[in-house]
């Protein structure tokens, strides 16, 4: 009852004030180059036709789940649209903190008429999730290490080979991805990784493999760290998001190369918080429909090397906005890069995350 009154009151105010006063829309994203690619590809063209919307950017995606939960407890949702990784979207959807969407109604169809649901395909991993990009966590290595005697890493297992490739490595300070890579390099077949990891012995096996390089690892927790460490020569090889490495190699011109082997695909996209008043919901749905259409997703690839989530956007990916180089070969989804990829199992990690994280932290501190 209160809710409806509030909705009516706000829409009445909105009607009275007309379009003269710009409405604020708070969009939450990751900051940095990624957020600026979203600004350029989505927000600026949108603002050109919608002077009544004033977009405020928040850089809290890292804490999005916690903050949305707190907002929900308080019953005061201040965000309109939130950029999260797929696993967080699933969590938010599960907890009822994100709005379920109907792809065919809420999202634009492809130019050739393919429905949004088909265009996004398997990437719609949750009923609340509106995918934008495919990114991958993969390795970059310095190409000027003399101690390697001209050899260069070719497979992910070279990360574990400190004989041939001496030097420090950087890995993310969490079990996800690292455990999988360790098992893959310990001889486990790709499709059995999670079955093995589910057992005590499998976990011990992964830790034992990681133990072999533990002394050579610098652990990172923010995406900007590996590029900085590589640029400083603090590490010779390190994992991070492929877009960060692209920027390091192409924009900053550092002697670093990509190692695409066993790159782990992940998705990033929007969720709309549950419980928005109707007028804000309508505004944000309008924005999302625009921002996730085929052209906009392809445009984003002009600024950052993440693959658009729509099949129909792929052919439209062009050149980098400033550097003028073709972006397609830098996409994680490019056939040359995607020869050997690994799929991250969201469901499995939702269950084992707490448990393995405790073990991982205990292992780290030993």
């Amino acid at each position: 009852m209160k809710l409806k009154t509030a909705i009516l009151a706000t829409s009445a105010i909105a009607m009275m004030s007309g379009t003269a006063v710009a409405k604020d829309m708070t969009i939450v994203s990751w900051g940095g180059a990624y957020q600026s690619s979203q600004k350029k590809a989505y927000a600026e063209p949108y603002a050109a036709d919608h002077s009544d919307i004033n977009i405020i950017w928040d850089e809290s995606s890292n804490e999005a789940v916690a903050k949305l939960r707190a907002m929900n407890e308080a019953g005061n949702i201040t965000w309109d649209l939130v950029d999260v990784v797929a696993s967080d979207a699933i969590r938010l959807c599960d907890e009822g903190l994100a709005l379920e969407i109907d792809p065919d109604e809420d999202l634009a169809a492809a130019p050739d008429g393919t429905s949004a649901a088909d265009d996004f395909g398997d990437l719609l991993v949750s009923e609340c999730f509106i995918p934008q990009i495919v990114y991958s966590t993969t390795f970059g290595y310095r190409s000027d290490i003399e101690a390697w005697n001209g050899k260069e890493p070719e497979t992910v297992c070279d990360v574990f080979d400190t004989e041939t490739f001496p030097g420090k490595r950087s890995l993310e300070k969490r079990p996800i991805n690292n455990m999988e890579w360790a098992l893959l390099c310990d001889g486990v077949a790709k499709d059995e990784v999670y079955d093995v990891l589910e057992t005590e012995e499998g976990q011990e096996r992964a830790f034992a493999k990681l133990d072999t390089i533990k002394d050579d690892v610098i652990w990172w927790s923010a995406g900007a760290e590996t590029p900085q460490l590589l640029a400083d020569k603090e590490v010779v090889i390190g994992s991070t998001y492929n877009g960060r490495l692209f920027s390091l190699i192409e924009e900053q011109d550092q002697p670093v190369k990509m190692l695409w082997d066993a790159q782990v695909f992940d998705l990033d996209g929007w969720i709309i918080p549950a419980g928005l008043p109707e007028d804000r919901l309508a505004a944000v749905k309008d924005f999302v429909k625009f921002a996730t259409d085929t052209q906009r997703l392809a445009d984003q690839a002009k600024y950052i090397s993440y693959g658009p989530a729509r099949a129909s956007s792929a052919p439209l990916v062009g050149k980098h906005a400033d550097l003028g180089i073709e972006m397609a070969p830098h996409m994680p989804t490019d056939p040359a890069n995607a020869k050997n990829t690994f799929l991250y199992n969201y469901e499995w990690w939702a269950d084992y995350r707490d448990d393995l994280d405790a073990k991982f932290q205990a292992w780290l501190s030993q």
């Binding site: 009822g96 603090e234 469901e347």
Partner: protein, 546 residues
């Protein structure tokens, strides 16, 4: 008293002096309190209340009993030690609880909560929540096959709604439906007595769709679980129809006669099919263990123990981390405090004995880092300490170390100690300085004139007088250091992180807020004890800052 009044000292206006003094004292006290009150209230509201509120989260656990009320009651009689799963009644109770929870999207929150205690529960709840609305479908089909009226929302409203609600609902439906929400659904008394389970589940259904989806029970077909409840009610009480009249009675007697021939649905089998864990006693043990509204579970977790059906047990070796981290936080803080003292004492001594103008200039060198952003100082240490950093480069350049033998000074405990010492050093110097300023030079002079060497005069005369400063600075540095979070995060690597980092992790990443609160409470308790020690040594009102 009155008889001796004339013997008492009195003030000019004849009041007893004692009373006048007491009154003056009271006025003094009141005036002091009135001055303090605004800040005290402000700090209590903006600072103390939030902390007390957070501490409460470390024991709060009503999510289990709120989400699964029926199941929790059923489980009371189940013997957790028995090694067998509970009976069908518990599965039925869970079916209803989970159905309601899934519609409100509460089941995954509960799953996440219980997953802290036993890995795998999260997915059991998630998977089952996705299928639970089909569990009663077998009954729905059989009721509808028996009489199509069971499919119509109106049948249910007619059977179960209270006449008052029907009236107010009709009034609402006739008016402007958008202006107000539909009146909240109410069950009639007849149904409540004759068909208890059905009434309860249908009531939950009606209120859930009203609140969550703004739908009306007059337009929606009930959940399958309602049919399942009706089946059970009618099986338990075949004469239920007698309580009703007219069409309802006929409908119910027909159904009551038919249920005996219905094919029963095996709810338990459906649960086990949704997730095999439901066939194991362990998941039930966990639910039962964590059913109470308050739990010691988070506190046990924070000391590497866990609550199981068999009582409190230590966690497996490879998952123990918090006691170790508490220990490390204390050890590192102690190391930091000691290095602060070693570096701070000579500086404070110098500053206290230089002419004021010089010492004030040098004091700026102490205060400048104090006022430079913590983040910037930490990043500066990164630039200095890393293997390709300024210090290593310098050492290689002057030939102290070889290029291959560069020192590892960051992303480990050394990095944390160096950076934190730098950050906390002013907190050591300032109290030391203010104590040393008050030490009269006469004692040292007297000692020297009595033949003491410089060292003896310092060690036996000066140093003991500076101990209060050492105490103050050390406790302050120690208290501040055990709560640090950002610096260890940025330069500590894996061996230099503190318990605060885990608290932050549990707040923003794992969302295990109860555990974060429990760890925070433990840390706070440690700080409070130190605070008392500090109070004993220097008195809280003697803290000085430059």
């Amino acid at each position: 008293m009155s008889e001796t009044a004339d013997q008492l000292l009195t003030t000019k206006d004849g009041k007893p002096l004692k009373a006048a003094l007491a009154k003056a004292l009271r006025r003094d006290k009141l005036r002091a309190l009135a001055l303090i009150a605004p800040l005290l209230i402000f700090v209590l509201l903006t600072f103390v209340a939030p902390i007390v509120d957070m501490l409460f989260r470390s024991v709060e656990n009503d999510i289990v009993s709120e989400t699964l009320p029926r199941t929790v009651i059923e489980l009371q009689d189940w013997d957790a030690e028995s090694g067998v799963v509970p009976g069908d009644a518990t599965y039925n109770a869970l079916h209803y609880d989970l159905m309601i929870a899934a519609e409100k999207k509460k089941h995954t929150q509960l799953g996440t909560r219980l997953n802290y205690e036993e890995t795998g529960i999260s997915s059991a709840f998630r998977k089952t929540g996705r299928r639970v609305d089909d569990f009663g479908e077998g009954y729905t089909d059989q009721f509808v096959a028996l009489n199509e009226a069971w499919e119509a929302p109106a049948t249910w409203v007619d059977l179960l709604a209270s006449p008052d609600w029907v009236k107010s609902q009709a009034t609402w439906a006739a008016g402007d439906q958008k202006a107000t929400a539909e009146p909240s659904f109410v069950i009639n008394d007849t149904a409540r007595k004759a068909l208890p389970q059905t009434s309860e589940i249908y009531g939950a259904f009606a209120r859930t769709i009203q609140v969550e989806d703004q739908d009306s029970p007059t337009e929606e077909e009930p959940w399958n679980a309602v049919y399942s409840a009706l089946y059970e009610d009618l099986t338990a009480n075949p004469a239920a129809a007698d309580a009703f009249s007219g069409a309802n009675e006929a409908l119910l007697s027909e159904a009551a006669a038919a249920v005996a021939t219905f094919t029963p649905v095996d709810i338990k089998a459906l649960f086990v099919k949704a997730d095999k864990d439901w066939g194991e006693p362990s998941i039930w043990q966990t639910i039962k263990t964590f059913a109470p509204a308050y739990t010691s579970g988070y506190f046990l977790n924070s000391v590497d123990a866990q609550l199981t059906a068999d009582g409190v047990q230590m966690k497996p070796e490879d998952e123990r981390i918090y006691l170790f981290l508490f220990g490390r936080t204390l050890m590192l803080s102690m190391a930091i405090t000691i290095s602060c003292l070693l570096l701070g004492y000579p500086i404070a001594f110098l500053l206290a004995h230089l002419p004021l103008r010089t010492s004030n200039l040098l004091m700026i060198l102490v205060l400048l880092p104090f006022w430079t952003s913590l983040l910037v100082r930490t990043s500066a240490w990164k630039v200095l300490l890393q293997q390709q950093g300024v210090i290593n480069d310098f050492l290689v350049w002057i030939g102290v170390i070889s290029d291959a033998g560069r020192l590892v000074m960051i992303n480990n405990q050394t990095g944390t100690i160096i950076a934190m010492t730098h950050i906390l050093l002013p907190f050591m110097i300032l109290p030391l300085f203010s104590v040393m300023k008050t030490i009269s030079p006469n004692y040292v002079r007297a000692a020297k004139s009595l033949g003491a060497t410089n060292w003896t005069a310092f060690w036996r005369v000066y140093f003991p007088q500076s101990v209060p400063g050492i105490g103050a600075g050390a406790v302050l540095a120690f208290i501040l250091s055990i709560g640090y979070y950002i610096t260890p995060e940025l330069v500590g690597g894996t061996s230099g992180i503190f318990i605060s980092n885990r608290i932050a992790y549990h707040i923003s990443s794992s969302l295990n807020w109860g555990l974060a609160a429990a760890l925070g409470t433990m840390l706070l308790a440690a700080v409070m004890i130190l605070f008392l020690v500090y109070d004993r040594i220097v008195g809280i009102d003697n803290v000085k800052l430059g």
